[in-house]
Amino acid sequence: MSVTRRRFLKLGLTTLAGIGGAMALDGFWRGSAEASEVLTDQKALKAKHWAMVIDSDRLKSAENVQRMIDACHRTHNVPDFGNSKDEIKWMGTETYEHAFPGQENGYLNEGIKEKLFPVLCNHCENPACVRVCPTQATFKRPDGIVAMDYHRCIGCRFCMAACAFGARSFNFRDPRPFIKQVNPDFPTRTKGVVEKCNFCVERLEKGLPPACVEASNGALIFGDLDDPNSEVRQVLATHYSIRRKPELGTEPSVYYLIGGGEEHA
C-alpha cells in the first residue's frame, strides 16, 4: 500500500520533532559545567546598602584628600594623562559651591569656602546612569553598589550625560601607557569605555574596606545603611549631614558631615 499523504505528514513531523528535541537536550547538557556551582567568598563583607560618610572636619588639608585619591587610583590602575581634557578620575575634589550647588551663599566661612571636598560616585539609590545605559553595562547590585561591566560598555557615554555628579570619565585614549605602576591584581580599562568608582567591590569581596577608607585615617566611614547598629548609621544619627544635589531624587549613598568651624573657632 502506498503511503497516504496523512501518514507521510505524521511520520515526517514526528521525526523532525525527535531530532529537534535531541539537539535541544544535547545543547542543554553541554551548556553547563557538570555539577558545578558558584559561591560568595566567606571572607566577603556583606551589606544590604553600602554607604559612605565623609567627615570633612577630619580632612584638615588637601594632602589628606590627595592621599585617599592616590590610594584609590593606584589600586584601580587609573591612568594620569597629564591634561584635564582626557582626565580620568574615580575620586576627585570640588569646592563647596561646586559640590553642593544651591547650598552656597556669599558669606560662607573661609574654612568651608576654600576647602576641597572629596567627590566620587554617589552609588545612588535611583541611579540615572543605570536607567540610560543601553547595554546594562552599568547596573545596580543588590547591595546598593552601582557597578560597571566593562566587557559590555560600548562607550556611548549616555551614563556620563545622565550622571548629575560628573562621577564618570571616558577613556578617549588607551590608558595603559599612562599608568605609572600597574597593580597586577586589578584589570586596566581600554580605549572607548567609561569608568568610575566601584566602591571597591573587589576589596569588599576579600573582606577589606575600600582603599580610600583605609587611607583616610578615619575621615571616611563606610558601612551598611540598612543596619541601625552600623557605624555609618551611628554617625548619621548623631551628626548633621548633607548629600550632593538631593533635589534630583537620585538618593546618593555618600553623605557629608560639614562642620568647618574648628580651624577658625
Binding site: 559545567a33 567568598d41 597586577p184 591584581d185 586589578f186
Partner: protein, 131 residues
C-alpha cells in the same frame, strides 16, 4: 560560439585566480597547535588538573569564562566549586593566569590557528605585565 576561445580562456583565467589561494596552499597544512602547559607553577603541582577536566576546558572554556565573569561581576560570587567539589577563586588574573602564566604560548597558539583574536588582554593584565 561567438568569440568562444576568448570566453573560455577568460573563464579559465578567472578560475585560476579565484582558486589561487587554495592552489598555493595545497599540501601545506598549518601545523596543529600545541598549547604549552608546562609553566613553573604547573610543574610544582602534584595533580596537574585545571578547574575542570581537560576535555571540558577544551570545548567549554569560553562558556565557563562567561559564567565566571557574570557570577563575579554581577552576583558578587567569587568562589567556583567544580564537579569534584574543589573550590577556586573566580579570577582571570589570579586563578587562570596563576597557572597559565604563559598566555602567549598557551592561549594564543590555538586562537591564532583558529584566527580568533580574544580581547581579554586589552584590559586584563597578562603574564608580561605581572611582577
Amino acid at each position: 560560439m561567438y568569440k568562444g576561445g576568448r570566453i573560455i580562456a577568460g573563464l579559465l583565467l578567472f578560475a585560476c585566480l579565484a582558486l589561487m589561494p587554495f592552489l598555493i596552499n595545497i599540501g601545506k597544512a598549518a601545523a596543529k597547535p600545541s598549547p604549552q602547559v608546562n609553566t613553573p607553577f604547573i610543574q610544582q603541582l602534584t595533580t596537574q588538573t585545571c578547574v575542570e577536566s581537560a576535555a571540558f576546558m577544551k570545548t567549554e572554556h569560553m562558556q565557563l569564562l562567561n559564567q565566571w565573569r557574570d557570577a563575579a561581576l554581577r552576583d558578587g560570587k567569587t568562589v567556583y566549586v567544580n564537579s569534584q567539589g574543589q573550590s577556586f577563586p573566580i579570577s582571570l588574573e589570579n586563578s587562570c593566569l596563576k597557572c597559565h602564566s604563559n598566555p602567549q604560548q598557551f592561549c594564543n597558539t590555538c586562537h591564532t590557528y583558529a584566527a580568533v583574536k580574544p580581547y581579554c588582554w586589552d584590559c586584563h593584565n597578562q603574564g608580561g605585565t605581572r611582577q
